[in-house]
């Protein structure tokens, strides 16, 4: 598989570490970026117009939530995959993810939940 680029957006260091490890073990040549908030992610997007996969938490400190970021990503990365990986499993959040046609994954993160989403990239 060719080299891909992923951006993990989550305020939890532990969750970023877990997602990074799951992706790296399956695809060691992928470049993985991290941001601890959606605001930070938004600020680094112009430097990286070639991101293939976004992993977003929903509730993070700052002005933007994970779902707030999705509109921006849909416009600028129309061919990229977006996963909302969140502990917030309320129906309203799930339904918004469904309406936006993004992948919804319930925390805790496991390889079984994430790897299938990487295989068609």
């Amino acid at each position: 598989m060719s080299q891909k680029k992923a951006l993990i957006v989550d305020d939890s260091t532990v969750t970023r570490l877990m997602i990074r490890k799951i992706i790296s073990e399956k695809y060691p040549n992928w470049e993985i970026l991290e941001a601890e908030s959606a605001d930070k992610a938004k600020s680094i997007l112009p430097e990286h117009p070639d991101i293939d996969l976004f992993s977003l938490d929903q509730n993070m400190p700052g002005t933007l939530s994970g779902l707030d970021l999705v509109g921006i990503l849909k416009s600028n990365y129309p061919n990229s995959k977006i996963m909302l990986i969140t502990a917030n499993i309320q129906d309203a959040i799930k339904n918004k993810a469904k309406d936006l046609a993004i992948v919804f994954i319930e925390k805790p993160v496991t390889a079984e939940k994430i790897i299938p989403e990487l295989e068609n990239l």
Partner: protein, 202 residues
């Protein structure tokens, strides 16, 4: 005096039984081990009663607070562990991801994430079963004396908040890890929640 009828108490117990079952499954996934939960006991207590609960007042604890707002009212949910138990939980959670001698660096973050997942699972289930809308905020981690963390941080000291106390006993492969979940919510909200649940169960 604030009190719940037997039916109201039963409805809340049922809600938490279902919710904690889901939360235990999630925690088992996080630490890659089976968790055995005792049936949670549920008590509605005042703050002064909470002060003396389980001789915790002077004990060092770690807690994750998840504030919530919505139809149920404004409140806070806390997942609370004895300080001595917390590192054991983090070791189990992080063993595949970092070297054991690095685990303590991740203690705050790992416990925050456990709290985030467990408390969100319970609140999500509560919203689903009651049809209440509940919005959660970013969880916060605190460590220190139980009394200072749980009881002295109330922003409205004059408000007659009740504490809906759900006591859980976690058993992790021979290690006895005790955990507690507290909900701080005013009594009217607790009463309304139980009424809504009773209507749903009819």
């Amino acid at each position: 005096m604030n009190h719940l009828t037997e039916l109201e108490r039963d409805s809340l117990c049922e809600l938490f039984n279902i919710s904690l079952g889901g939360a235990a499954k999630l925690m088992s996934e996080m630490i890659s081990d089976e968790i055995l939960l005792t049936v949670p006991s549920l008590k509605l207590i005042t703050k002064s009663e909470a002060r003396n609960f389980e001789n915790l007042a002077e004990q060092e604890v770690c807690t994750v607070e998840q504030k919530f707002v919505g139809d149920i009212g404004n409140g806070s949910a806390f997942l609370l562990f004895h300080k001595s138990s917390s590192l054991e939980i983090v070791k189990m959670m992080m063993k595949d991801y970092v070297a054991l001698n690095e685990v303590s660096q991740f203690e705050k973050d790992a416990l925050s994430e456990i709290g985030n997942i467990i408390l969100n699972a319970i609140l999500s289930n509560l919203a689903k079963m009651s049809d209440y809308k509940i919005e959660t905020q970013v969880p916060e981690f605190f460590s220190g004396k139980y009394e200072e963390i749980l009881l002295n941080r109330n922003p409205n000291p004059n408000e007659d908040n009740s504490i809906l106390l759900v006591f859980i006993d976690y058993q992790l492969k021979g290690k006895e890890i005790k955990g507690y979940i507290f909900f701080i919510l005013n009594f009217d909200s607790i009463k309304n929640l139980s009424r809504v649940l009773i209507e749903k169960l009819k």
